[in-house]
Structure formats: structure tokens, C-alpha cells
Symmetry: C2
Subunit: 336 residues, 2 copies
DNA sequence: TTGTATGCGTTATCAT
DNA sequence: ATGATAACGCATACAA
């Protein structure tokens, strides 16, 4: 490994001068600086992030926390899109990303300890159980953090506009003549609560009455549970004309249940999803859904985290809401 | 931040003794060791991975390289599954993982330089363009590496059994009475070449003649290009009875094209995919496909890389082939 | 403009 | 059994 010392010897200057030259400090003669840089390149010098981090107290490394309580973690398209864009933006800003988890090898540690252990300059907390004390500890620590879809006091968060999204979906369905809307929702989280509330509120505003049995619990990203909920809805004396699914993937569970009952979409039953993952638009018929701005969410998360890291003085916590977009698709039939 | 020095002061011993005690060195009195460990815990001491890495020349950090030339990178279910299992196994072994990319912030570097910059103990190279000189540089460097689905000389690689997988699919289709098989393949890579060769070889072994126009190029994970290829196949004077798709996701492009032509699956056309991602088994009809052992592939990659890192003396390069499994599904109709 | 000295937190060597 | 000291590679305050 070629170090700053090697260059200093090769150039006949001190290590300090080399360091300055390499970092573009003003107090070094242009000619010397150039000579040093040329030599560094010739020798194949590479800065050592580890040594630099130790010295500067800055690792240029940010942690990402994807502890999906619902299981799959990264492997859901929505989250992997977010990860991808966090990664891209972080790298653009000069930061690497490291996964934060519990229990590294033999040592047992919580999220906060892991982040400290790796000297992360900050952490993006996505897809976590925000009631978990370990998450709370990290999110309320001195480490800069940005949370996704959940707000801690005096902390920055990036929020997908669940209220507006659900509102848009309900209105879209309403405009197509539907009046009997059923909603299958995921596990109760703050996101779920927002969606349920927005669903009910918009229905009320439109004069739609939603019978309690039209609201069914299921599990996010689990087609099976949504299939069961669908079955329950079909067993009702008065069936809904449109079913809202917790997410696009869960819709697939409903889809197979509907087909099993000989119902075709959207002729016999209209459906809408949520997320707007690429898959939803590749299906036929195209799923009517609401696309969350995963890419924007990830980008903003990285951006505001780095901003917080690099300008702690002028930084203020904020809730950034990222708007999505209604994807009309073809699974809502015009009726009435 | 509480350091080893803080503990040494609090215990009235030297930093050296503290370090030894914390690392379970034999040459420290059991009682002192216990006292020190208790104090460390009481003070909330956390080791500093950065300082440790600088001193020991081992970062306990492995890089993962996901530069999907076909675009999406991590966001394809197959790769995100691999990432997930690499991560899980690495963490189990005490290693964190960092993404390796090109061009971090202002500094332009290639993959090798990035890995050195972060002092990665090793790198898992997945989903990359193995013809890229930057990849070659990394894979043939002194850094321990493991490649997925591609072999470099004297290097360890984890290979999905593409030959066996394609063979199994062809035989399955054959047994269901099909004799006119068309194959839409992805971009030409070593994996693709293996699949095409295995397809042709098995067909030949079964006495099936495959007309050249039954072999169509498309792009992996791109439903649109597979849709176009499907259209071309349907336009032939003599249509195939079964179409092989490059992967499960690409099949969706073919599916919509088939429906557009009023063909139902598998009544009017049989199809098979490749990968066996969860999505494929949630669709109705269930896709007939070959499940690659993504989880095993990731686990073996992490395991053999760490083995190479920790036992460089006894280590030997090896090609590990991971078997998959035929998922019969319901998209191949029994004919004849 | 350049160089000297120091320390970031840790581990390892070698005395004691 | 314990401690003093050096070193990993780098950046910086300060002296020259």
C-alpha cells in the first residue's frame, strides 16, 4: 500500500506538505503541489478512508437500516428502489453506505451501538418497527438520522403522502361510479392509520357509507393474507364493487382468489393497489394504483441527512412530504 | 465517546491491559480482567472499528458489487434475495457490508480503488459486466474476491447450475408432449451462452429440431423486449407450442402480448420462465419455471469469501455450483 | 512556503 | 501479570 509517506520520500518533501497538496490547501506552492500530485498518481496512491476517518472524526459513511418487521426487508421492490436511490445520492455526495443491523458476529449490539462501532456519520432509518426500543434509542441519539414514513420529535423525516394518495384513489374510484368500497389494510402502523383515516374521511366527504365489515385486516406484502380477506369480502351478503389492497403485491393474492370465484377484473370486480411498483404496470390489466415516489424519497433522505451532517449549525429538523402519482390503470371499471 | 483510555483511568490500569482484557488475552489476571470488563460495560464502552481496522489491517468489512449492466441493479428480486443472504451470512460471521461503486463524490475511482479506499477485506462481485476492465482489475487483484455466475482463473466463484436448470426445463416441457420449443434469451453473457447451449443440447438429445427463427434475443428483466420477441414468434407461419422466457419478469411482457392476441395460457400457448422468484408462484396460473437457489448462492458467497480472508494459507480457489429446483407451475399444458 | 510535532483509538512488542 | 512505547495513515496547529 502506497502511503503519504512514500510520496513524501519520493518527492523529498514532508508528509505534511504532501497531505496539503493532495487536499488542495492554499499554502503550498503551485509547482510543488503539481509535482506531488503527479507523483501520487504515478505511484498509484489511494487515500485511506480508515485513517482519515480516525483523524477527522468523519467517516463519510452513512448507515442504512432496513429491518423490515414484516419480513422480507430489502427484497420488496418498493424498499429496494428506495435503497437504490439512497445509495446513488449518497455516493454522488461522497458517502458510502453500510447496513446497520443487530448482533454482528459474536458481539451483540443494538442499532445505535452498531452505528457507533462503524463511526457512521448518520443513519437513514427505513422500514423499521418504530416502537422497537432499539430503534427509538438510535433515532433519539446524537447521531444524525432521517426516518422514512415516521416522525420522531425534532428529527428529520421523509414522508410519503399517504393521506393524499388514499384520497386520490378513493376519488378516482368514486368518479368511476363506485359506491361500495372495501379496504384491506396492512398491519397497524402510523402509515396504515393514515391510510385508513384518509380512506374513511374521503368516503365521508363524498357521502359514501362504509360498513365496518368492508374494512379488513391483512399483512403488507403477503398475498396470502389479502387473499383470505378477499374471500371474506366475497362471502358478504352485499359485496363491494371495488376492493382496495394494502399494496400492489398483496393484490396478487386477491387476484387469484377472485379468479377462483370466476370473477374477472375489472368486469366483475374492480380493484386498486398501492405503491405503483414497476410490476403493477406490467400486469394485464394494468393495476390501478398510487405510485409512491420511492426514488424521490430515497434521494431526499440521503440529501437531507448529508445536509444535517455537513451543516449541523444551520440545520433544522423538517418533515419532507413526497408526493406520488395516481396510476389509472385498467382495473377500475366505469359503472352506474 | 468512551475509549479504552477512559477505562484504563477508571480502573487504574494501563491501556494495554484494558485492551488485553477486552480481547480475552490469556496473560491478564482473571480478577483484573473481570473488573475491567465490568467497568467497560458500566461506562458503555464500544470498540471503534475504524481504529481497530487501521491498527490491525483488517476492517471486518466486505464489499458487494452490484453494477447491473442491464439497469436495475438491486431492485430485481433475484439479486435482492442474493444481497439479503450475503448480508445475513456476512453479519453472522462478524462482517459488515459496503457497496462498491465507481466514482465516489468528487473523486473518480474504479471498483478496485474504491475497495482499497474502504479497506475492504474482500469483495463479492455479483451482477456485473465481467468484460469491464474495471471489474477484471478488481477480480484479478490481491483483494480476495468471489464472483457470482462467472469464473475468473484461480478465483472462487459461485455458479447457478444453468446447464442443469435449462436441461430440466426442456425435459419437463418435452414430457408434456411439446415438440416445438422457442427460446427467448437475454443479452449474450456467459450465463446466457450456457443456457442456450444447454437448451440446444437437450433438444438434440431428445430428437427435437429447433429452427433458427425459434431462438430470439431479448433483454433480461425487460418485459417489453420479451413482448416484442413474443410477437415475432406469433407471426411465424408455424408457431411454437411453448415459449421459454429469459426470466420470470420478462415473461410478463410475453403474457400481455399473448393476451393481446387472444391466446390464453396454457390453453393456447405454454410458457416457462427462469429464476423462480416469489412473484412467479403468486401469479395465476402459477408460472412453470426453474428456481435458482438465490439464498444459497448468497450464503455460500459470503461464507467462502470469509474463509478465504481468514485462512489465506489453507485456502484454494473453487467453483461452487448451487443447484436449483424445477417449479412445475401451471403454464405448461399437457398436449399430444 | 515548508516542516515539525502531535494525536485520533487501538493493538502488539517487549520490558519490567 | 502488567505497563511503557511504538505504530497504523492521515490531517492540522504551530513553528520555522
Amino acid at each position: 500500500m502506497v502511503t503519504i509517506t512514500d510520496i513524501s520520500k519520493a518527492c523529498g518533501v514532508s508528509r505534511a506538505t504532501v497531505s496539503k497538496a493532495l487536499n488542495g490547501a492554499p499554502d503550498v506552492a503551485p509547482k510543488t503541489a503539481e509535482r506531488i500530485r503527479a507523483k501520487a498518481k504515478a505511484l498509484g496512491y489511494l487515500p485511506n478512508a480508515t485513517a482519515r476517518a480516525l483523524k477527522m472524526g468523519r467517516s463519510y459513511n452513512i448507515g442504512v437500516l432496513f429491518s423490515d418487521p414484516t419480513g422480507g426487508g430489502i427484497s420488496h421492490e418498493y424498499f429496494s428502489q428506495i435503497l437504490e436511490s439512497v445509495k446513488a445520492e449518497a455516493e454522488r455526495l461522497g458517502y458510502d453506505i453500510t447496513f446497520i443491523s443487530k448482533d454482528l458476529g459474536a458481539m451483540s449490539m443494538d442499532y445505535y451501538e452498531h452505528a457507533k462501532y462503524r463511526s457512521c456519520d448518520g443513519v437513514v432509518i427505513a422500514s423499521a418497527d418504530f416502537a422497537d426500543p432499539a430503534i427509538v434509542r438510535l433515532a433519539t441519539s446524537e447521531i444524525p438520522t432521517v426516518t422514512l414514513d415516521y416522525s420522531f420529535d425534532s428529527r428529520t423525516s421523509i414522508l410519503s403522502d399517504n393521506v393524499r394518495g388514499m384520497d386520490a384513489l378513493v376519488r378516482f374510484v368514486y368518479e368511476n361510479g363506485h359506491r361500495r368500497l372495501a379496504f384491506i389494510h396492512g398491519e397497524i402502523t402510523s402509515v396504515t392509520q393514515k391510510r385508513i383515516a384518509s380512506f374513511k374521511k374521503t368516503c365521508a366527504a363524498l357521502g359514501i357509507t362504509v360498513p365496518p365489515e368492508y374494512i379488513r385486516p391483512a399483512i403488507y406484502h403477503d398475498p396470502r393474507s389479502s387473499g383470505l380477506a378477499t374471500r371474506a369480502l366475497l362471502a358478504l351478503p352485499e359485496r363491494p364493487t371495488c376492493i382496495f389492497y394494502p399494496d400492489d403485491l398483496s393484490f396478487l393474492g386477491g387476484m387469484s382468489e377472485l379468479e377462483k370465484n370466476g370473477l374477472s377484473i375489472p368486469k366483475d370486480m374492480s380493484v386498486v393497489g398501492y405503491d405503483g411498483i414497476p410490476l403493477s404496470q406490467v400486469l394485464r390489466p394494468r393495476l390501478s394504483t398510487y405510485r409512491q415516489g420511492a426514488e424521490t424519497i430515497g434521494r431526499e433522505a440521503a440529501r437531507s441527512l448529508v445536509d444535517q451532517i455537513e451543516h449541523p449549525d444551520t440545520w433544522l429538523p423538517q418533515q419532507i412530504t413526497v408526493e406520488g402519482e395516481l396510476l389509472p390503470g385498467d382495473t377500475v371499471r366505469k359503472i352506474g
